[in-house]
């Protein structure tokens, strides 16, 4: 199936109504559902939260759009609830964290491979190796704090080895900014990628910021503090690749197209029929949002939405293991650092980042302490130590 954004009108906004029963459905099984079903849930939850965030900012700056924004936002709110409530309660916050990093690794890797702009592809590969390292640190914490094997969540799709060490990811703010795509010449897929990854990173940041203090263990509290700080850097990075000269309505349209694209990708690949029905319903809802915002765009900007977004959606985002690509990127780019918006070798890293890093790590490094000597093994490291 290929989706024509402008012909498929989806469900009209006034028919997008939900009950509490619709929103609170039986959750997935942590043991039996596919890891990539959980990946899709986390990813789309991130997009729904971003939809709310963006639409609120937009409302603060645009009096005329406040009513339409409030109407669409009500639906986004209920979509977000439906999706996030699919995560079952037997996931400990740390197990959910493992899943968040799996999303960051596998989705960013997929995006990096299909991104047509070479500079942007480099940006994604750069971020990828950092989230890949987070997965390793959190896996060590899961093993050493809860006595659990992170692979119960990852299902052998994603490696648990060090990436660019988290201790080295702390940079001066000015070295987290990147060059942005050009709104007039960028491919549609580049716009969809940027909004998707920015949304994913933002929700990861917020998740860590909220659950960090629910841990009793001071090492866990420190590790969440440290990695939340990197996720904030990641939001800074991915936000900056989006053209800031896009108009508010243009950005709104891209947000809706991004939601359409992701739900379409979910529909195409979902194996759990009950969850697939949710993706189908929400794909129709997002097509409705896109049609609605397209009309506003024509009305206020007197432009054709096709100037912003191509008619047919790109091929679906592949949800699959990217082991070889990640390994290759790790081998080639682990020593990459930044200087302003440019990627440089370790030796040329900007001094401001070195100074900042030196200070922030001077009271000890939680990411190093937690993973001291840590090598993943099936069934936890106790399998090695006791054997």
């Amino acid at each position: 199936m290929s989706v024509n954004l402008f012909d498929s009108k989806g469900v009209s906004l006034d028919k997008q109504r939900m009950t509490w029963k619709d929103m609170v459905q039986p959750p997935i099984s942590k043991l039996d559902d596919e890891a990539f079903t959980r990946v899709r849930i986390i990813l789309t939850n991130g997009l729904e939260v971003e939809a709310l965030r963006f639409q609120h900012l937009c409302a603060r700056m645009n009096k005329d759009l406040q009513v339409p924004l409030a109407k669409v936002r009500r639906v986004e709110q209920h979509q977000q609830t439906t999706i996030n409530w699919l995560i079952s309660s037997d996931h400990s916050p740390l197990e959910t964290t493992i899943a968040y990093e799996q999303v960051a690794v596998e989705v960013t890797a997929a995006v990096a491979q299909t991104e047509p702009d070479p500079y942007l592809a480099q940006v994604y590969r750069f971020g990828l190796l950092e989230d890949f390292d987070h997965l390793y640190r959190y896996s060590a914490l899961l093993d050493r704090l809860e006595g659990k094997d992170a692979n119960n969540i990852l299902q052998s799709h994603t490696d648990i080895i060090p990436g660019r060490p988290t201790i080295d990811e702390h940079r001066a703010p000015e070295n987290d900014l990147r060059e942005h795509y050009d709104r007039a010449t960028a491919d549609t897929i580049s716009k969809l990628h940027a909004t998707t990854i920015m949304a994913a990173e933002y929700q990861t940041h917020d998740y860590y910021a909220n659950i960090g203090p629910t841990y009793a263990d001071p090492v866990a509290r420190q590790l969440y503090a440290e990695i939340a700080s990197i996720e904030e850097q990641h939001v800074t990075q991915y936000e900056s690749i989006i053209d800031p000269s896009e108009t508010w309505l243009e950005k709104w349209l891209i947000h809706e197209a991004t939601e359409v694209y992701n739900y379409y990708s979910c529909v195409e690949q979902e194996t759990n029929p009950r969850i697939k029905a949710i993706w189908e319903r929400f794909l129709d809802y997002e097509l409705g949002h896109f049609a609605y915002v397209s009309e506003l765009f024509k009305q206020y900007e007197r432009r054709d939405p096709a100037e912003i977004i191509s008619q047919t959606l790109p091929d679906p985002m592949p949800f699959e293991s990217n082991r070889d690509f990640v390994r290759q990127t790790l081998n080639q780019e682990v020593d990459m650092r930044t200087s302003g918006t440019q990627f440089v070798d370790k030796a040329q890293e900007d001094q401001a980042s070195l100074d900042y890093r030196q200070h922030v790590n001077s009271g000890g490094s939680p990411s190093e302490s937690v993973a001291e000597g840590y090598q993943w093994m099936p069934g936890t490291e106790l399998n090695r130590k006791v054997a």
Partner: protein
Amino acid sequence: MNQPVEMSMRNRTGIDRSPADSQKMIDAANAYMPSSKGNGSALMDMESGYIQEAEPVGTVAIPGTLKGAAQATIQMLAGRNAEVLVDKLGERLAFERTGTRLYDYFINKCETMHCEAPISIDTLKRFRHEEAQHFRLVANALETLGADSTSQTPGADVSAVASSGVLQVLSDPRTSVDQSLEVMLNAELVDNAGWDLLVKLADEMGLEDMAKDFQVALNEEDEHLMEIRQWYEQCTLKQAGAI
């Protein structure tokens, strides 16, 4: 509605589910060295540093105005640490109050699932009633000491954190009666030990009336524990086809 545990090809958590991918993961873990050397003791070192700096979870509330009767009781405790008794009473009170709710959830699950022997809904309802009575019993004991039975003591707080998982399991629609029985057993084991301790504590502190009341509660708790444990064993053995 959920059935007893079954075996299926659906469980995806172990390495045997995808041997080729798992082997790649294992090879990678062996090929890439940890970024820092050591045996993992850094984690406990950090923990130790925080233990040394830590403040306690909280304190026990000071009794307000002591009425005549409470003054007499407190005098009997002269030279003893009344705050330990108040803390432990507060802990039991909170546990019995939550325990009543645990039984509410468990009874509802058993009724919904049309539970059969050995489980008896009538017996569960009696246990539930006794938990509620024990809650009131401890509240009265605290009041005779002039303590505020509505305040949360450190013991109450910490033991609620400890048993929060029990509540999560019981209130989850997906868990079976058998799984629920296991966590009820978990709660009753701790509860039983708690009452046993309270009887000793009241007795040692010379609070004879209190010790007598607590002994009656302990006898009831002995029955809770025995029944729940038996049901748990019988249900599991029955499911396994052993009886």
